[in-house]
């Protein structure tokens, strides 16, 4: 039996020491420390790791962190929503998002051509520039082949970018697939539609990509999941894992709650009833904003994995 232990600040305390103290602190801090340890365990067990996140996290500065994690081989597959694709490309081309305020005057923002995502601002200009980037990319794709499974299309686009902090670029360079089941649900979907109007032979094949996510792990692989937020991205990785026998390690980090039966709020406990997470797996759900909880848990894990030689910075 472990006991609650009083936290004490020591000058110069490291992140790893703090997360370690969290393990005996209380409530969600205990769960966060478990999440960090679960990440360490899945990597030490050489699990195939799914990393999933929603587009608001790519809007945030987690975007470069995700790219770094791909570079460090902390993920074997990524699942996200199309906003992530769009904003990763915008940022790769130099667009910057401003820090704003949750209680802005939204009508005034609209008049200024500023779009709000919580406390982050994206200008209309960023979207306009994105439009100019996409069409030439799609032309290059069509020149190669007519029918594109989503992850293969995203890999080609990643190779066209040249930004070390881009998720798409690092994923392409490191042969990590990015799955995006709802590829049309954003500005990118609109541009695909416009492009297909001119080139009806151009096909985005979402069904073929199901094969890709299914085959990127197997029944025999040890499998892990780090699911940040909910949505289709979380569910898609779980579904693919379930079809391959279920997860051995699962970390869910979310603000959503189980009380309304949503996928976003579904816990690792609920997942066990489905066989999504194996009965004897290491599984933990951390409630809280991912921009706070994930860097803490992951950096503490990276420090430990670096020390153990599993990760090389």
């Amino acid at each position: 039996m472990e006991y609650v232990n009083d936290l004490k600040w020591e000058k110069g305390m490291s992140i790893k020491e703090l997360v370690s103290a969290y393990g005996q602190l209380g409530f969600q801090s205990i769960e966060l420390a478990k999440a960090s340890q679960t990440i360490v365990k899945m990597k030490k067990a050489s699990a195939k790791v799914f990393l999933t996140f929603t587009s608001n996290m790519t809007t945030s500065g987690l975007r470069g962190f995700f790219a770094q994690l791909v570079k460090l081989k902390m993920a074997d597959a990524i699942v996200t929503t199309v906003g992530s694709i769009e904003e990763d490309i915008m940022k790769a081309k130099g667009e910057k998002f401003a820090i704003g305020n949750f209680r802005s005057d939204d009508i005034a923002l609209h008049e200024q051509g500023v779009n709000r995502v919580g406390n982050i601002f994206i200008t209309n200009e960023s979207y306009a520039k994105f439009e100019n980037l996409v069409i030439p990319m799609l032309e290059k794709l069509l020149a190669k082949q007519k029918r594109w499974p989503v992850s293969e299309m995203l890999r080609e686009i990643g190779l066209l970018l040249d930004d070390e902090e881009s998720i798409l670029y690092q994923a392409a360079k490191n042969n990590i697939p990015i799955f995006c089941p709802a590829i049309t649900d954003g500005a990118f979907g609109f541009h695909l539609f416009i492009f297909q109007q001119k080139h009806p032979e151009f096909i985005v094949d979402v069904v073929a990509d199901f094969k890709n996510i299914l085959l990127c792990t197997s029944q025999d692989d040890i499998k892990g999941l780090i699911a940040l937020g909910g949505s289709v991205s979380k569910h898609h990785a779980i579904l693919a894992s379930l079809l391959n026998g279920g997860l051995d390690y699962a970390v869910y980090m979310t603000t959503a709650r189980e009380s309304s039966g949503s996928m976003s709020g579904a816990t690792t406990n609920e997942a066990k009833s489905w066989g999504k997470v194996k009965d004897d797996s290491d599984a933990v759900t951390v409630i809280g904003d991912v921009t706070i909880t994930f860097p803490l848990a992951m950096i503490a894990a990276l420090e430990e994995l670096a020390k153990a030689g599993v990760v090389k910075q």
Copy 2:
């Protein structure tokens, strides 16, 4: 200026009277009453109405209510996630979901072949039967044409069902399109993949369906949205509306909060910065479990619309 008014129970009080009292009660009850009024207004203004919901709501008994709303012409287009499609079909074929408990022993459930969604149980058997239903449906589709936009495929499937309480059936019968941008993110996606392995010429065209959702309303239409929960279903309807000039009426009902910048938690205020919701629109966000809030707001609206002759039961 309106004032808070003390609630008083009168024996035999109707739902409409209660929701009306909510308008002067406090906190989220005031917002719920506004939501109900906004639904009345959008219908009286002959707005084209998007109704969006996530699959857990179809797991619940809201499924038959959604079908009834389609029948009553309360929605002109539906957007949902693929779990809704699967469970609507299961229920149309007689499967029943049991009422369970949030704090079940999930490992024991797994051993019994029972899958938990919050406090609702679905058996493995229901999924197995679903599998047997889908393949013949896909064969019929392929016999007609090779390339299927999602909503057109769902319409065909709806016509194969024969259940007055089925969403797919009522939508097909009443010519209401059902959009499902992440069509592969569920058991249905797996069956599509198996089918495509045998019939590589079978294509699910998500890009073509973008045209369908875009053209189901126009710049000139008055447009309304009732978004239940978050996810791709909420975002997709907002995106389509934005591209057609923004919404005139918007009701968001969700448990998600704006504090983490997620789409699910984004408010109607945030939407104004994007032009998703017009500056002068009637727009309201109600925080709470949709299984409680939506029937209340909608039934009060239906009673008023029935009285005004806009809705005929």
Copy 3:
């Protein structure tokens, strides 16, 4: 085993019919229906019932509903926070609170002398008038005796009011004690302090009131609790019940979650570990805004109790 049942609107549907349908609908609606039934059961079992709520609910129009419930003998003891006392008195003396907006300009409001509680506004004037009311009341109290247990003081104040919709008035008239353990935590506390400066012999005896709450039920009584929101008011009723052997019936309605270990978010399950709620009790936790969930659950219960002759309107 009970099954999920599709909801269907029937014109003129009553509140009772809706709450009954909630019992087979899903997620929190199922819990709400259980809460309503638990209220029916506790009354039919002639349980002694604690009703607890926080001051924001008295700010809302639930205030008159609470008064009505006292009049209908639905509660045998009340526990609340001091804001409830203050605002019940203000309203009894004719003050009105305006319906505002969650996203107001708070600096502008401050300049106008308007104080915001969520989407409700209270003017400085209402507080100023309150001040003028309190001192004469305290003088009357002191003329009677020097040392006042809180609930006895509140009973005397209640008798000085003359408003059918006042909680204090109805409680005093019906001999229902109102407990308020943190009696100094509000404007009333400040006035008590000013008064005690002039009259040091005036004592508010919180310890003596512990006896009152302890003796208002006994080990032998069947005991029920309806706890709305969290805070000291919820905990105090639970504590008193625990010392008398635990609750037989418990309904918690709150927006707070268990994930951070707070009293407000503590569930009826957690309460069982303490013996606060008996192992075999009827106990249910409903997550949601009380201004929506409580009237629904309670009105459905009142209709049933009225039909059974337990409640007379």
Copy 4:
């Protein structure tokens, strides 16, 4: 204008560097970084600082951290609930709380004499020992005087403890008052009641303590607040500050939301309408579990204040 900046892990990264990166990361991490800076500013401005927390935080290992903060003179007054007093004394006398699980079998726990607070376990034995400690303490108090303002009583008790990690001990030793407006709302209240039965002349004077909290700051002082969680503890510090002209610096850290108008969820924005927080103050609300957010924000502040010589470890 500040911009979102991609997070990058550097081996050996310090807590201060991480919190600094949070300032440009996104959503609640930005608010957390602001909270940390606001703490730095209030200390550099020599503000009188209120630190408030609820008892679940004392149940957790934050208890020793709070004691350390008192020792480091980071707080000038504390407000908390009575559970904090009880558990601080238990821990000072050697009781240990075990780390448990949110989804425990609560009936089984009850049979084992184990009480659950989220994922922390407290045994009945710890409470029984507490009882034996309290009565002799009260006897010592009564020998000194008959009428005790709460904070003066708690100071005397603190002097009887001898544990460097005790909040009561450090507060007494460093002349920091601890206010606890609902002093009877716990096991301690029960023991006070038993004691008063034998010694009716023993009086706990909550009204006199209002003077103490009012006079521990003045209109002229620069005033700051760090409110962890909600409840009476948060409100009481705000009330005292309001009566002295309002706060210049305010940090609220909570899981509660503003949507239901509760005190716990009330934001620093809402506080401005009341003048609780001055219009031009530095004020920030951070949503999240305090066991995660507070150590991060506070340790980063301590590191900066130590470097600046304001805090000496």
